[in-house]
């Protein structure tokens, strides 16, 4: 709703002062939820160097492959790898990275786009990516160009401890730094929902300082616990994957882009006896019920598309109320049994997100609005499009103009 007002400041000038007053009230009281889910981003970070940390790179690359398979395009994935295991001289299989000793899947195939590599992976760069404070020379492909409707997956793996994560064997990211960066992101409207997934020792402690709403966090281990590697590849001579990531991947391998497994099913799939640590998730900052949120909210790029008449209509978003929401998947029509839960989800999203029009009416009917101007506003907002609004405004100005000129004379 406030986007409506914000995006059109010209309108304010034309409207009555009372409208200005109302808009400021509305701005303060509204929440970000009003933003629609626009896109999905993933920031995947491997923070540790050296050959014996092979598994961290394999973790990150596995997750990269998974989110890519589930529909997040390369341009929306920021991949940070602190070292190059594939071309390490100790690698028995040059230019290949495996996350399983069966070597069936080469994670470092043709189509891997690493945005930050080697010594570029620093705490500073990581925080710059999150907060979007880059130097002007940094290309767009290395920036997190999310907006207030973005769902962001932030995956980090490396060596950590109580409230810190080690970067590059030389610096640390502290839980305060992370919380601060997330808060800045929130202030700058850089995300709608954020899932932070961390696979490191004592990962849970990294979330202690988080305060920003819309953040969901999951870590591989509680305070005082270690996160262990899953298995050793005796051919390559190193451990190739961590337990937490291994079972995360095992969960996603069963899914494809159309599935609707919920986040809670992912979280409940972690068996402490398999992990040898207790997976911890923090959901008190997250408003939606985990049972109703499909994993593809973060790990894929499934969202509703909005059909417009004209390809280049300037203000199409505002008019979305006129058009029916559709999922991006045309095929979903054929999979009716899968379609139903999506519909449930759709309704949910519509309820929360849909910026104006019907939803506003619904709220009005609910009797939630106490403002005396609300009826006027509702009427006002029923105006079909901006042109007519402007026209009405101009017409309303005419009497004033006439009266004022008459008075002056």
């Amino acid at each position: 709703m406030e986007t409506f007002y914000n995006s059109k400041p010209v309108l304010h000038l034309l409207l009555l002062p009372c409208l200005l007053l109302y808009s400021s009230i509305a701005f303060n009281s509204s929440s970000v939820e009003a933003a629609m889910h626009t896109n999905n981003w993933a920031v995947l970070v491997c923070t540790s160097r050296f050959w014996f940390n092979y598994r961290h790179m394999a973790n990150t690359l596995s997750l990269y492959r998974t989110v890519k398979r589930l529909g997040i395009p390369d341009e929306r994935i920021i991949l940070m790898l602190a070292d190059d295991m594939a071309c390490n001289t100790r690698n028995k299989y040059p230019a290949q990275v495996f996350n399983n000793e069966n070597h069936r899947l080469n994670l470092y195939g043709d189509n891997v786009e690493v945005d930050y590599r080697g010594y570029e992976v620093t705490v500073e760069n990581f925080l710059r990516v999150l907060t979007g404070r880059h130097e002007t020379a940094v290309p767009r492909s290395k920036r997190l160009l999310s907006d207030e409707g973005s769902h962001i997956l932030l995956y980090m793996t490396g060596h950590g401890g109580d409230e810190f994560l080690k970067f590059q064997d030389s610096e640390e990211l502290q839980s305060h730094d992370l919380a601060d960066a997330v808060k800045q992101m929130k202030e700058k409207h850089r995300f709608k929902e954020l899932l932070i997934m961390v696979d490191t020792c004592q990962a849970a402690t990294l979330f202690n300082q988080l305060q920003s709403p819309g953040v969901l966090a999951i870590g591989s281990s509680m305070k005082g616990e270690n996160s262990y590697s899953h298995h050793l590849d005796s051919d390559v001579g190193v451990s190739v994957v961590d337990r937490f990531t291994y079972y995360t991947l095992a969960f996603f391998e069963r899914l494809n882009i159309y599935d609707n497994a919920s986040l809670s099913s992912l979280f409940s799939s972690y068996n402490p006896s398999w992990l040898m640590s207790t997976a911890y998730y923090r959901k008190d900052l997250y408003q939606r019920r985990l049972e109703e949120v499909p994993v593809t909210t973060f790990f894929g790029s499934v969202m509703e598309t909005i059909h417009t008449d004209a390809a280049y209509k300037a203000l199409s978003r505002r008019n979305s109320g006129r058009f029916e929401a559709q999922t991006s998947l045309d095929q979903s029509v054929h999979h009716s049994e899968r379609r139903t839960p999506i519909k449930v989800n759709d309704r949910d999203e519509t309820h929360n997100i849909n910026p104006e029009g019907n939803k506003q009416v619904l709220q009005g009917e609910g009797g939630a609005t106490k403002c005396p101007w609300s009826t006027f506003c509702n009427k006002f907002q029923k105006a079909e499009n901006v042109d007519s609004l402007v026209n009405y405004g101009l017409v309303a100005m005419i009497p004033f103009l006439v009266i004022s000129t008459w008075l002056v004379r």
């Binding site: 050296f50 050959w51 014996f52 071309c87 001289t89 100790r90 299989y93 040059p94 005796s234 001579g237």
Partner: protein, 719 residues
Amino acid sequence: MAETKVKSHNDDKPKPRVRPIVRLGIFLVSHSFLVSVVCCTSGVLALFLLPVLAKNTYISENALMPGSASPMLSNQHVLDGNRLVKDLTNSNLKSSETGIGSHKIIAQYMLDLGAEVSFHKFHPQMNQFHPLHFFSSPDSGKIQENYSCSSYGINTVGIIRAPRGDGKEAIVLVTPYNALKSGFGEALSLGIAYSVFSLLTQVTWLAKDIIWLVADSQFGEYAAVAAWLREYQTPKFSSSSTLNAEMCPDINNLFEIKVHSVAGSKFSNSFRRAGTMAAALVLKVRDQSEQFEDTISIYAEASNGQMPNLDLINVVNYLAVHRQGLRVNVEKLRSLLNSSWLKSLGEFFESLAKVAKRLNPKCKFGIPATEYVEGTATLASSLYYQALGVPTGPHGAFRDYQVDAITLEISPKFSLDKVWRNDILLRGGRLIEGVIRSVNNLLEKFHQSFFLYLLTSPSKFVSVGVYMIAFALLIAPLPMVAASLYVDANSSSNCSKGDSSTPPAITDADEHGITIRSWRWLNSAKLVFIVHLWGAIVSLLPYFICQIPDCSPTTSFVIWVLLSILSLLILNTVLASPLACVKASQVKEWALVKSVTISSVFIGLGLMSVINFATAEFGALLLVPMCLLAQPLKLDVRAGTLRSFCRIICNLVLGHIAFPPAAFFLLKGMLDGFGSANVGDFWMWVESLWAWNSATYLFIGMVQLPCWVLCVSILFHSC
């Protein structure tokens, strides 16, 4: 005691508040006798407790990851190795008198694998005493002109370049080989090294270059390795060596054949290098052995008690025990294994641990008695070889260049069976492969684990933080006793005067006397300085003595002793002549001399403990009781009590034991039996010490000998 007297004397005045640390110091100094007895006993006891306090070793460096990769050495490589062993033994049977044939065979085998091969010709360097070369890095060596063509050795060097590596680092594998009279063990060690080498030419995971050095051991294993290392690390920019080579037809012949036989350009006449050495392994196979199982012995001690990083030993131990099922051995003092007193001590500790466990179940203290005896025997040998300061194998040459190296000696259980030979080739080869792969994973030099430690078994160690306690306890009484003696000597004369004169009226003359008396220790310091100067002269004398041609060890030793006595007399007459008049005037002169001696010994032991702990520990065990007990015999005889009688006995015994040659002969007699002892042996031992630049030699010459002389002079002091 004197302090309390002074205090009571000044009681009427308001005393300024003394700080607690000063009060503690005064308390310790005034009870120095009790403190020294307690400290020395606990120091010796702590030394015997060390095997109990030993911790299990662990691999400290994450990057090593030993055994995480499955061995790739297959039977094919073993067959290759076997082929080389056969060829070498056959060529030995044909017995070319120079041994060039076997060099050619080895080089040919290396070339066939695609390695870079070169020969390194060297002349063995004579062991010479360079007084200023202690602690200095080895130089490139003098090039002597008049070597004959017969007295040279040829090292064969093969280098595999890491296919994707940066060529900055290398791992060295050394197999000593005497082409003239090689045993089967040497050929077998070459076979093991070759099988590993042939595997490493095929693998893709090398990050460091591999150097295989076949060291020509006809002049000793150490000399060959040291010569090659000298050439590797400090290149000579002169053409004399190559000229020299061309004069000898044998070597020319060798080079020509090589160049003809191999079409490729891999063979080179010049010296080949790879990067800095990350680690070095010396591999040997013992010819005869009476072991019941395959055993691998680790030798780690390098010159001056330097040890390689503990991680290297850990890796070898872990792979040998847990992967290849070999038994790992470190050197033990065999004579201690059967000693009954050690066994009973172990049993005592064991029962003590049981009591402790009953009191506190969490207490993890104590080991079985048999383990204690073995641990003590290992610890004693570890201390002995470190104290000697002479490397226990060719790996010592690497330590001089700060390269971590150990010698592995495989002793197979029975011999000459074909199946057995393949088995030992396979297991030995896989062990070497595993160690190389583990070191290959290393990112930096070995730095994570300990460099200062003593082994009590292959998987147990005592770190510097623990064993220093024993040493510190042993030498802690020295400064206290020195201070107490000084205070005593000063105040006794003070008091005698103070009692006679009235306290408030201190005249100027008296004050003057006090200042003179408080500087009296300078006389004693001069004496101690002179004796130490003499010690330095004595340790330099062998440099001149060994210039005398055709001198048997016995005559050299006698000359040395005579010159030493002569120099002491000369020094005494020239520099210490005022001593006599001082001696006459002062009553407690000997106490001051003892005080200064003890201080100098304390400084000497403290310095030595930094350079070579083991030497300092042995030195402290001898010197500390001698210094503390030393008292003029006349006084004790005059006293005539039981206590003084005991002291006379102790002084006489210690005075004999602490004399360096006497200590040497006693130790030698204990180890080898007294029958074979010879006066010249000491000279030979000293010669070996300075040949290895051992700091133990300096310690004996400049700390122990002067201290002994001073103590003896105190014993025979006329008061």
